[in-house]
């Protein structure tokens, strides 16, 4: 009787052990077998439409800029050729974080107006493109807006001098269009500017 009871108890415990043991089993793999799964990582990258796919290794060096130092006493000008006629328009420059014109810059803007107006007398459809630019300081989206405000200030000066606003186009290049890359005040000042470019 006692023997039978003990046997039943052992069997019962075995059943419980089997069920409980399954839930806490921590050996998932046996060494020496094949991998439990093989997964490709190409599901995304392989399908990208593009070019120059590569892994960049540590030996690649940074491309150097092709820009050169300013040599013309800090004066920047844009030369536009209209049917063989050359028009040189001097850029206006701005203070750090500013988009207002100082008196001497206002004079440059008026000189530009005079040259453009004279050219427009011969070429009625001529438009002027004002390109706003910034130095490298500040975040880029803000700099694109700052460059645009500078271009708008230059536009307002032209309009105030008598130009038809419909003959003026504006764009901002933010910090993407530096004319120099030296880390000094002269270079930064040169980059804070609006360029005047004639569009035939």
């Amino acid at each position: 009787m006692i023997k039978g009871t003990l046997k039943s108890a052992v069997l019962g415990v075995c059943a419980v052990a089997l069920l409980a043991g399954c839930s806490s089993k921590n050996v998932e793999y046996e060494d020496g077998q094949s991998a439990q799964s093989t997964q490709s990582v190409d599901d995304k990258a392989a399908g990208i439409a593009g070019s120059d796919e590569r892994a960049v290794d540590g030996n690649e060096t940074m491309k150097s800029s092709t820009l050169t130092a300013i040599t013309n006493d800090g004066v920047n000008s844009i030369q536009s050729d209209i049917d063989g006629v050359t028009v040189i328009l001097e850029s206006v420059h701005f203070g750090f974080d500013k988009y207002n014109l100082t008196d001497d810059m206002r004079n440059i803007a008026t000189t530009n107006f005079n040259k453009i107006s004279q050219t427009q007398q011969s070429y009625d459809g001529l438009k002027v493109k004002l390109e706003g630019n910034c130095d490298e300081w500040g975040t880029d989206e803000y700099n694109y807006a700052l460059g645009l405000k500078r271009a708008k200030t230059a536009k307002e000066a032209l309009v105030a001098d008598g130009m038809d606003p419909n003959k003026i186009v504006m764009v901002s290049y933010g910090e993407s269009n530096p004319i120099c890359t030296q880390k000094n005040t002269t270079c930064w000042k040169m980059n804070r500017r609006v360029d005047y470019r004639l569009l035939p």
């Binding site: 052990a17 998932e28 990582v41 990208i48 590569r54 892994a55 491309k63 880029d140 803000y142 005040t185």
Partner: protein, 425 residues
């Protein structure tokens, strides 16, 4: 009989209450679990050059996760060798990861990995990963690191497997848009020629992206399919146009536009094609992000005569100032109640300036500085808000930065050529 039963109970007890070494690592260890990542000595020769690179990225991923302590040991084993558990335990190693690299197809790789739990003398993971092009090896590493992290049931690091999209300046008025992994090791150019900037994923699926091109008469917002390269014009604007945020369902965009040469924030509905002007200040309003279920916009404005962070409900007039620190806060990103912004901390027209990142809450006084040196800009929260991606520029060096907020650590991945213009993930 009694002895048999006693023996049985011993076995039964160990089975029922078997220690799950994985959970013990988490519960009992106040320090991070120590892991050794080893390269097997029997990797195929041609694939040898990739072995070290793959293991380097795995180690970096584990470090960036903040959930492991990498231990470097000089171990020379074949892939199928049983680890010397006792020797590893003597060094307090918890996990042993071994990686074997083989050729796959013509130009591809196959990586076999085994993870051993040193404390329980068991192999706990055995996986293989393949790619048809060896240059995609960083994704092999990321998959392995994610798998190891998941095994430990640590907070997810799935973001490591996602793409980053960035634009970089190559020269004056010239930039290209590139898709990469988060370490900038894998790269593929998706837009080139002319000036193409401010790429922004159209959704978390990362199948399409927006960007601004200057290759037309006016600055134009484009939408491009990553896999077909099919692109279409969305909007053009005088002066500038930038997509700075996308709503959670992808249907609305926050734009900075200047249709009257005045930069302002707009919300554009891509389904109805309607534009809603959000700001009307005649200075600079840029860089908007959706918050509060896309009902409110956080943005940068110079309405106090210097750039700072403000918020405004769409279709309402009131503007709320959010940041009272710093004199030049020119970029921000939002996640829930949190804002991260870039603040210029020096005002030097004649020399280097420092831009640091700050994390604040909109509902409390919580504020934390995340960086200390250099020019740290363009912060972007990850999808789960646990990490922040940003651009760090120091003298002649441009890097992708990642802040792991909960672990108070920053990591940097340099861009080998060009200058980072903007970035999204």
């Amino acid at each position: 009989m009694i002895r048999s039963v006693f023996l049985f109970f011993i076995i039964f007890y160990n089975t029922i209450f078997a220690i799950d070494a994985r959970m013990e690592i988490i519960k009992n260890k106040s320090a991070l679990p120590k892991i050794v990542t080893a390269v097997s000595s029997d990797s195929i020769n041609i694939a040898n050059e990739y072995q070290k690179k793959i293991v380097q990225i795995i180690r970096k991923d584990l470090e960036v996760s903040g959930h492991f302590e990498n231990i470097e040991l000089d171990i020379t084993n074949h892939f199928d060798d049983i680890p010397q558990y006792q020797a590893l335990r003597n060094q307090n190693i918890d996990l042993y990861l071994v990686v074997q690299v083989q050729n796959n197809l013509q130009n591809g790789l196959k990586v076999n990995m085994k993870l051993y739990d040193v404390n329980s003398n068991n192999i706990v993971l055995h996986r293989a990963y393949t790619t048809s092009s060896a240059v995609r090896y960083p994704f092999l590493s990321h998959k392995i690191a994610i798998e190891v992290n998941n095994y430990l049931k640590a907070p997810a690091i799935d973001w490591m497997d996602k793409f980053v999209i960035f634009s970089r300046y190559l020269d004056s008025k010239t930039s290209e848009i590139v898709v990469s992994d988060y370490t900038l090791t894998y790269q593929k150019v998706v837009v080139k020629g002319g000036l193409n900037i401010f790429p922004k994923w159209a959704s978390k699926e990362q199948k399409e992206f927006y960007y601004t091109t200057y290759n037309y008469l006016k600055p134009t917002l484009m939408k491009q399919n990553l896999f077909t390269s099919e692109s279409k014009k969305i909007l053009s604007s005088d002066g500038m146009i930038v997509c700075s945020d996308v709503s959670s369902d992808g249907s609305k965009l926050v734009l900075t536009m200047a249709p009257n040469s005045q930069p302002d924030i707009y919300v554009y509905d891509t389904i109805s094609n309607l534009k809603t002007r959000v700001t009307t200040y005649d200075g600079i309003d840029v860089g908007g992000s959706f918050v509060e279920n896309d009902s409110k916009i956080v943005f940068v404005s110079d309405r106090l005569r210097y750039p700072n962070i403000f918020a405004k409900r769409i279709n309402s007039k009131g503007v709320e100032r959010l940041v009272y620190h710093g004199k030049n806060n020119s970029q921000c990103s939002t996640y829930g109640d949190y804002i991260v912004y870039s603040s210029r901390e020096t005002d030097n027209e004649f020399g280097d300036n420092t831009f640091n990142l700050y994390l604040i809450s909109t509902y409390s006084d919580y504020a934390r500085r995340l960086t200390t040196t250099g020019k740290n800009q363009f912060p972007k929260f990850s999808a789960n808000g646990e990490s922040i991606l940003f651009i760090k520029n120091e003298t002649n060096k441009s890097s992708l930065g990642i802040t792991r907020i909960n672990y108070n650590k920053n990591f940097y991945f340099p861009l080998k050529s060009g200058k980072l213009q903007s970035i999204d993930w």
